[in-house]
Symmetry: C2
Subunit: 320 residues, 2 copies
């Protein structure tokens, strides 16, 4: 019998599913397999889709997958959004569309539980994407709700980030101002058949023209004009344009050299995250929960201070 | 001449200002002083004030400080909000009010640059609060814009968190849903003289009644009913009620045992943050920027994998 890595590389879906489970359960063997898979990954475009609840992300993702299948792409989906039909929060229509997708052998959908630490979630998402990538899925779509710290962290693994908003969600524009703007490569105004869609598009376009960081970035690298696209997913309207924009963005990333720049930043933060994880493990193995409690009590009682306790622990875990 | 710590403990404002500068510049001596100051801190109530830009945070903080001065409290303010008049983004009226406060010897205002890492900002804010606390300021108000990861992190240092919103900011309610709700102890609807204030109050009250996590928490600890208070800061209206609520919340924290629970959580996360900081330092001292680049290049070229690189670095920095 072939080993798991070989079967996964041969396109065996069950091997991929098994691998994802190993990653999610943080099994030590997963890391050894992933080290092998890393050599064979790096071909997929990683697309992030984010936005507030109700913005229409899941419907958009469903239609994107369909359009990508029309273009004969093998598509991976990782859903980190607790309100997504991929993870459980579906309304009936969504669920039916999902099941239709899940039956397609060239679509692999996996949801990630957002329990656990922020670092843990983004690490396991990155690892699952790596496994899908090595298995030949391309693109791989990561869907998150774009509000929490965990989700923004997860979005860092994407090369192309779509921010989805719907007409009449003035709140969305506010949220976008607050930080999402910086990570967006493509804006999608969903539910374009609703009143106010054109106004939302105009507002976003204005916001984009005002953003100083983006203007400054354009001076050093060739400009990517962030498109603001309208979709009415219910009629498949605009979806082709969105898929076109995703492909254009990838071409832009390659030509401008941004793809390798982003890859380098991501790899560095991944190595640092692995080391932080190792630090937390070392702490867990060095001091018992009882000892932690005693130390914390001493500090809160002002008998000791946090700086000297940290120094002492640093020595005990061997950290230079 | 007395040393800096002694002068600071004696209430010398210039010593405190010097200490804050040492913290901001991350001087090694700062930590030694802070270890001494820790033994003398722990008396201040730490109050966080957060909300979206335009919610009226700064005006509220100004009026809170005034009311607290009427009550003969010695008040510290740490502003992490880039749009705050404390840090520079003031309109004229705000600035005049600020200057008035800054002239009072029993008010100490310091703004924190939000440059640098998330971890760095929350660590230096915590240290500045510790110094003000040891110098006898109580309460100490931390003002942030409640949207980014950095600011939410900073808010963890507070014992009592005020979330400020204004009428007609439906977006605020959405933002609150997304995460701020979990950290709020008191809601303030500012600009209560504007239309829609009562509706905003009603909406918040409903949101609070629906929040399942909060209901569950109430089963294990005595209940704190999160008040939703209206202020029209321009007429000083409602400010006294807010200060009363802040004081009542402190009494609640003490009586319920939550104060020491929160202190213990904060201390633990502080010790972990200090260790993460030590990890990053150890890395910086162990490998040069050139070597980092080579390692990252090898990983992106798929000649090496991130897991084995992280293991190797772990060994080199001595981490068990």
């Amino acid at each position: 019998m072939q080993n798991l890595v070989e079967r996964l590389l041969d396109g065996d879906r069950r091997a991929l599913a098994r691998m994802v489970t190993l990653i999610e359960n943080d099994m030590p063997v997963a890391r050894r397999y992933l080290a092998e898979l890393h050599a064979r990954a790096g071909n997929a475009q990683i697309v992030g889709v984010t936005g507030a609840p109700g913005a229409g992300k899941s419907t958009l993702v469903t239609h994107l997958v369909r359009e990508l299948r029309h273009r004969e792409r093998k598509v991976g989906v990782v859903a980190v959004d607790p309100s997504s039909p991929f993870t459980g929060g579906a309304i009936l229509g969504d669920r039916i569309r999902m099941m239709e997708l899940a039956g397609d052998p060239n679509v692999f959908i996996r949801s990630m539980a957002s329990r656990g630490s922020v670092g843990g979630l983004s690490a396991s998402t990155r690892d699952v994407v790596r496994a899908m990538d090595a298995a030949g899925y391309n693109p791989i779509i990561i869907e998150t709700v774009g509000t929490g710290q965990a989700e923004v962290e997860v979005m860092r693994a994407a090369q192309t980030v779509l921010v989805v908003t719907a007409p009449g969600m003035g709140d969305e524009v506010q949220a976008i101002k607050a930080g999402i703007l910086e990570i967006a490569d493509i804006f999608v105004v969903s539910k374009a058949d609703k009143p106010g869609a054109d106004q939302t598009v105009a507002e976003l376009a204005m916001l984009l023209s005002l953003d100083p960081t983006r203007r400054q970035r354009d001076k050093t690298t060739p400009a990517w004009r962030i498109p603001v696209l309208k979709t009415a997913a219910i009629k498949d309207q605009g979806i082709r344009h969105v898929v076109d924009a995703i492909q254009e963005h990838y071409a832009y990333l390659v030509e401008s050299g941004m793809l390798s720049q982003r890859a380098q930043r991501q790899v560095r933060s991944e190595v640092q995250a692995l080391l932080s994880h190792a630090l937390m493990n070392a702490l867990q193995q060095t001091i018992t929960e009882d000892e932690w409690r005693t130390l914390i009590d001493d500090i809160t009682a002002r008998e000791r201070d946090p700086y000297s306790v940290a120094s002492q622990l640093q020595e005990r875990i061997g950290l230079k």
